[in-house]
């Protein structure tokens, strides 16, 4: 039987349809992110994600502007989920952070 893509991507009936993989893929494409780490904190329902994003495009932008950039890239996805926590770093910031920790 041919599989219906919409039902295949939606195993639980109340799943948001958003996955960590789909979010990461889109961020890499639209923001040219060199690193995207997404944690699904929802425990299965796909409603709560925490993201670490490293992109050249964050350079010289405030936290608010960085979040806006990410949020506009993921407009539809974020509308479908409950909680979204992006953490945005430039490549330099990310390197510094990794050295210090």
């Amino acid at each position: 039987m041919p599989s219906d893509p919409s039902s295949a991507a939606d195993p639980a009936t109340n799943h948001s349809g958003v996955t960590a993989e789909s979010l990461a893929q889109k961020l890499k494409e639209t923001l040219g992110a060199s690193l995207v780490e997404i944690k699904d904190m929802s425990g299965g329902c796909g409603q709560m994600f925490e993201a670490t994003i490293v992109s050249e495009q964050f350079t010289k932008k405030t936290t608010l502007a960085r979040h806006r950039l990410v949020n506009s890239a993921l407009k539809e996805e974020i509308a479908a989920i409950h909680a979204w926590t992006p953490k945005c770093f430039t490549p330099e910031q990310w390197e510094k952070r990794n050295q210090s920790s």
Partner: protein
């Protein structure tokens, strides 16, 4: 005096204006026709919604749109945001919280108003500051305290020490 007791008294204080605000929401300025809009229309930020939100953000110098009330937040992020405002010592007289769960039109409208997809949302003198993560990181790096101090929205120091 322990941090906990400062915090809980601040929280109780911040709770006060919310009741005020529930009544504000049901004032005629907040058009009652909202709930009668068709779902499709409701998705677009109508002029009346925009106007109502303009008024809402101007209610106090510090305005928080949250899920639930300061006494009973209904989302961890709203809870964290209200706790931070309490810890910072925001003057309850200069603070208003709006419960977006009481009004679906407000809940959707506020997201479009700032083009910010999540709640809570903090406004300072009508200007959008950020959501929970931004408020949290500004609280940690001290920039929130500085901003609140600049805008003179904190409880005066001599009053607090009484």
């Amino acid at each position: 005096m322990s941090a906990i007791s400062i915090f809980s008294s601040a929280l109780r204080q911040t709770a006060r204006p919310t009741r005020l605000l529930t009544s504000q929401l049901s004032r005629p300025t907040w058009t009652p026709s909202f709930s009668r809009l068709a779902p499709l229309q409701a998705r677009l930020l109508s002029d009346s919604t925009k106007q109502a939100i303009n008024q809402a953000v101007a209610t106090s110098p510090v305005v928080l749109f949250m899920k639930g009330t300061p006494e009973a937040p209904q989302c961890g992020y709203s809870r964290a945001s209200i706790q931070i405002l309490g810890l910072q010592g925001v003057d309850p007289a200069k603070f208003t919280a709006f419960n977006v769960l009481e009004d679906e039109e407000l809940r959707q409208g506020i997201k479009e108003y700032t083009n910010w997809p999540t709640i809570p949302q903090l406004y300072l003198e009508k200007e959008f500051v950020g959501g929970a993560d931004i408020v949290m990181s500004m609280h940690q790096d001290g920039s929130l305290a500085q901003l609140l101090e600049e805008k003179k929205v904190l409880v005066p120091a001599e009053e607090e020490s009484k």
